[in-house]
Symmetry: D2
Subunit: 339 residues, 4 copies
């Protein structure tokens, strides 16, 4: 931490700050500048609180320097994490495509879509059994019945399944059925759920919160990893901004930033970012071109009658075309990096 | 819902839309305009999905018209809800002041602060026993021990207590000790927690999510009320914006908007909006001047050594001065409304 | 500036950074911490560019420390600036109320409203002669005819007038007629206009840009002051956020922050923040309670037929009530500060 | 426009609204719904003001339906606009790459970079002669000398040049030298400048404002086109959000949305969105994958000594690699659309 003093700070005030720094078990180093003095706080053991210093006489500002995350940091582990789920490896060279409906609505619906996903070259199947909905009057998911349908999809099509866990109460159940457990955007800072996910035996798919900074997102992953689960996949899904022509604003800068700061794989969900079908294909291609390790896309064979998110679901034929396009882009980027 | 057709939409396309509207059990009424036709969807029973119509040929846009909330709406219940907690009534004419530390750190700390809060004229005591923290390495609260200290505060100073519940696992415990159960900003769309709160016997203090619209916030309250609990206090606490000089941006327009749309009382937390002590008093006064039913403020006798949020906690003397100021502003607004 | 090195930065890399700092005419001081070294850049003459250092091997991050503004800074001039315009002094103890229609529409309209503004106790009259409108097809203002009407208002009612200048072409004209020249939110970073305003003989009313940080806003004022004009009034008018229930989100934290950072007076425009009449009174009271030096409010005797901004204009009777309320709040705050 | 009435609106109130609609020269059509009546306003000649209706008794809300733009709308002109500048056609099938330094610093600098841009396959050269800078103390550009250097670049390398115009005063000069006149993000709603650009004989490169909606951006283009200049290139360059890891947040959804709503070509500037070099390549590839008609990229042979924006400028070798990559992606998308 750097403590910036006011121009008119007195020697006594500077000494007092140094004394408080020392009392917190850190070392203080005073740095005289052109028009003001700053004091560096060094060798701190744990996190420093602004409040310890910001109120002392003569202090203008405190500036955090250290990154708050440790286990998920690339400085801690320089090589990228690869996560193996059956025959799929996320974070390896090959792009991972997860696809399926927003919600599992029936066995027939799930099987119909899964067949198309498999045929088009999708790697994993997604589908919600427990649905977080803004309105209590909207379809809330099939619950365990939905999980059983997912299990059938897995067996029939040899597709690992990703599904969301909404709370502590249903965690054991979801963990038992899912190949990857998803934590949704509204639960990114549900710290109890993160801790439980850290004790799970399955990889965790952690969506970025609707207005989370990358630091907060990585700290959410740190919660999981601190409990012992190293298999975390991050997923950018758009953030909330003033923009109204899309449901959220996809923040593709987050892809290279996460890849620089952390060893964890990072995927992109263009469907929830877009909110409208005609933006999903451009954003999905863009995500892969930006270097994401994979994409998660909503597909529905009859979006006009979907129970949720129909407006942003691709038709199976669009999804097949998308798969071809993103595999090509992936190939191209790989080649250009190698050359 | 209004379905706006493209300028070049054909009669067949318009008919097709009308047919789909009818198939969903609603009535369609076509409205010819200067350069395009719109179709109103009428007499719908439940929520309408954009996706049912947005993809039909010739459709340019769908526009939602109906408000999504029902039970919490002022159209449903025109008179304002008053919530009685022991000798305090929230939502009545008199401003409610809740104050205390961010976290309960020890009995001595809580009792010291509570004494000051009582003396200054605070109505209720706040203090966290379970703390949602961005970092897993930060102080996480005293848990049940903290709740017991809160109970002692209540007995000693005759101050009802508000404390946060973080998850389903600790809900029973918190409900047993607290006079009002708080749901924090990160849990505003933790729908399982909202449902549980709807079954609670205690009033719920529902903070606005960090980037929630008023509609989403009221829908979160609708979740609680739909389960049978009518006693909900809404609390604006700042939203996340591009602004960096405060921790969040306090959205005071939300106060009159919520008061127009809903019958529920709405309070303001200036401490979490500000993030810095020197902004708390101006924002607290502003909140009361804007017509809030109450304020929740962080107070600490030794903020430089607080376990959390020290930088935004008022000193007891500042809090006493604030109480005088906001009571005066309250009086003044009441008089001006009457006159 | 502080240059934070990576954990694995070598001694050579650190030396190289020190060399570059020196080559830029500054002094470098290396600060060894627990897990990484930082380098402070000291005694710089002008602004430092991140790019000079951010790309050197081993560098993790550069952090700006110094404030970018000088002339407008309270560190440069500790006492608050007071701006005298005829019989009104902005920035003194007494709250300044500027009011009038969005646009001057006719002599009759302006005189009717001005009479009400005067009667209610308004200090200055506002009204646009040149209007920046989102659509080229909307009413663009009366131009010089509008300025002449403003002059008549001033003579008749002894009210100084504030009006907006949109470009270099009309600056001389506006400067000749206005008592205070307003620079609108869309022009806050129109640097040519700012320079011209810096050469004006009239005070400048500088609205905050729609998404400007306080630093950028103060730098815009610095442009004006650097050209020789010390008379600048800052005006917060809401910033653009994800929020949809108001036209903009009023950022009242900006009031105490500007007052701490700068010696310039800061006013608030609740009308443009709100966008809807029923939010204007609560926000205006809040602004004064937050400590603003004044408010600028839109008033219209016939808002339903206003050429622009009718939905946010107060009726004269509402304005009169508002004046009474904010004068009372002002008094109250003054007393509480004194006591 | 749709006027939504309150549930409890009386027949008299509804009649009154209908009367006001008629008095404005429009037709009213009342639409009875399940729990409330709405009134459609039809056959309006010009823009409708909310304020005409929003304040009438019984009115709950007014909802705009019509798009505000006309000339730039794809409904007006279904085929995409192609803009020919010497041997380059923007908006045709082929991707346009504009590149060069942020600012022209010297003849030697410009010629060195231009040679690299040409060699790598860039189509046009960019470089600022008049620079809008946040600080009055930063480098402000070489002015006319810079324009002369740009002319020399054009002659020597057969590269058309794009350069920014900051105000009315320098417009003639910039228009005389430039092949395309750029209007920067801070001037997107400088309506006087837009009108002047509408009278120019050169195409206009219109950057999106820092917090502009797509509607406002297209209305800015409408200003230009309404004055007679049909040659407008739109450029997305990131918008301001809460995100701090990049200078702005690139809004790639804007690309398909603009292409659906307007016939004008839309390019992307990844450099200003990113703010950091290591994000520029991923974002540039993403922009092309999203379907942009071109990209504008900052390149500098010695970014560590650039007068501005060094941190986000690519090295020439990086730019050459980028050109290869984006040309490949372009090819690939074209093929996939054809197939």
């Amino acid at each position: 931490m750097l403590i910036v003093m006011r121009q008119d700070a007195s020697a006594e005030q500077i000494n007092e700050v140094v004394k408080v720094v020392t009392s917190k078990g850190c070392q203080a180093r005073s740095i005289p500048g052109g028009d003001r003095v700053s004091i560096a706080v060094l060798f701190n053991k744990g996190p420093l609180e602004d409040a310890w210093f910001s109120d002392l006489p003569g202090v203008q500002q405190t500036i955090a320097v250290t990154r708050p995350y440790k286990l998920v940091s690339r400085e801690t582990k320089p090589s990228g994490t690869e996560i193996r789920v059956k025959n799929v490896t996320i974070g390896s060279g090959r792009l991972t495509i997860m696809a399926g409906p927003c919600a599992v609505e029936s066995e027939r619906q799930a099987m119909t879509i899964a067949e198309q996903v498999k045929k088009a070259g999708g790697d994993m199947f997604r589908g919600g059994a427990f649905k977080p909905r803004t309105s209590p009057y909207s379809f809330q998911g099939l619950g365990e019945e939905g999980l059983k349908i997912l299990a059938k999809v897995r067996e029939t099509f040899d597709l690992p399944v990703v599904t969301e866990v909404m709370d502590l109460a249903c965690f054991d159940l979801v963990e038992a059925y899912a190949d990857i457990v998803q934590i949704g955007t509204r639960n990114m800072q549900n710290f109890s759920l993160l801790r439980r996910a850290g004790q799970a035996k399955k990889p965790v798919f952690l969506k970025r919160g609707m207005s989370a900074t990358v630091d907060e997102w990585l700290m959410a992953a740190e919660y999981i990893m601190a409990e012992g689960n190293p298999d975390i996949i991050l997923c950018e899904r758009g953030v909330r901004t003033f923009v109204r022509h899309s449901r959220n604003t996809l923040d593709l800068s987050a892809v290279p930033v996460v890849q620089r700061e952390s060893h964890l794989p990072v995927m992109v969900d263009p469907s929830h970012a877009a909110g409208f079908r005609d933006q999903v294909m451009p954003l999905a291609r863009a995500a892969v071109a930006a270097g994401a390790h994979g994409i998660m896309v909503e597909v529905h064979h009859d979006p006009a009658n979907a129970c949720s998110d129909g407006a942003q679901s691709l038709y199976p034929a669009q999804f097949a075309s998308l798969c071809r396009q993103v595999r090509d882009i992936e190939q191209l980027i790989e080649n250009s990096v190698e050359s």
